[in-house]
Symmetry: C2
Subunit: 186 residues, 2 copies
């Protein structure tokens, strides 16, 4: 951020009076431009013993597999956002169920919130952000080709909870990897 979105004057990065953190502050109109973490919302669409996975057609992690998820939009609820992302990425209709995993990713200013969901029919197909959409059993999950740690952890919890027939909320934090991950698309 270099300029004020209200008046187009230059901004400075400084601690405003009474605050404790540096913010972008307009040198002219004094508007403080706060920046806050964003929510990524999505779901685990279930159909019988399978779940619906998407292979990414966009960066980051082009070619790797994920659950339908994306940035929550203004004016919607978490569950609205999870259903919308599932429609956008997999053209799939779901009934969104309980909140299932919540992951902090502080080094990228994100919080993932993923729900369990029921797929309502089999008329899914790749949206513009997906190369493929596929129903997978646990044995078919491509564990070495999952796009994000949040999704891998969510899937692990899901299959473990399903095996013991008791689902509970999981809350966790994904730390910055010691080395950048090198995962090649298959």
């Amino acid at each position: 951020m270099k300029f004020c979105s209200h008046c187009a004057a230059a901004v400075s990065h400084k601690i405003p009076p009474g605050d404790s953190l540096p913010r972008y502050v307009c040198d002219h109109c004094q508007t403080i431009h706060y920046q806050n973490p964003r929510m990524v919302v999505g779901c685990i669409p279930q159909w019988e013993d399978k779940i619906l996975m998407c292979r990414r057609a966009i960066e980051p992690r082009y070619g790797l597999w994920t659950l339908p998820a994306g940035y929550m939009e203004n004016g919607e609820t978490l569950a609205d956002g999870a259903a919308r992302e599932t429609m956008e990425e997999a053209c799939a209709r779901v009934k969104v169920g309980p909140l299932y995993t919540v992951y902090n990713i502080p080094h990228v200013n994100q919080v993932y919130l993923l729900f369990r969901a029921q797929l309502l029919d089999l008329n899914f197909r790749p949206g513009t952000e997906s190369l493929e959409t596929q129903l997978m059993t646990e044995a078919e999950i491509p564990w070495e080709h999952i796009a994000f740690a949040t999704i891998r952890e969510t899937l692990k919890h899901f299959f473990a909870d399903r095996a013991r027939q008791q689902f509970e909320l999981h809350v966790g934090t994904i730390e910055r990897p010691a080395q950048p991950m090198k995962i090649e698309p298959r």
Copy 2:
């Protein structure tokens, strides 16, 4: 938003190619300025059979009672943010426990995420954003003078769950009130 924060040119509000919602898009450098909901994080600080409430010294809802909560900051976890807000508003040290309530407020683009927490000592006092801080039993809660619906709902769930000795996650949505609320500070 009137101007691009990258190049100071004017922005237009329009649907970018491949998108489905209107965004602020720079007429010069084409940067898309997304706007997303914000998270409000906080906690219910418990001490024996009491909880710690704060009376607001700032607008909105000046003079009304609330739980310590505020906007989550970049670089922190949900629980980090809940503890920081409790320190800022009540100068109180807490051990943050389980996530307890999650409220969508789509008409103001917010999601509240409130945790249960244990107050670690009695050295609390009003921070700059609070007029008073007070430990309250259930009977002492000023139900007619609570600042926000999210806080009122969270407190109701807390005392009901405590009575049956079984706490569980509550997820809900606060709809826009049919008429603006008129609550006077006491």
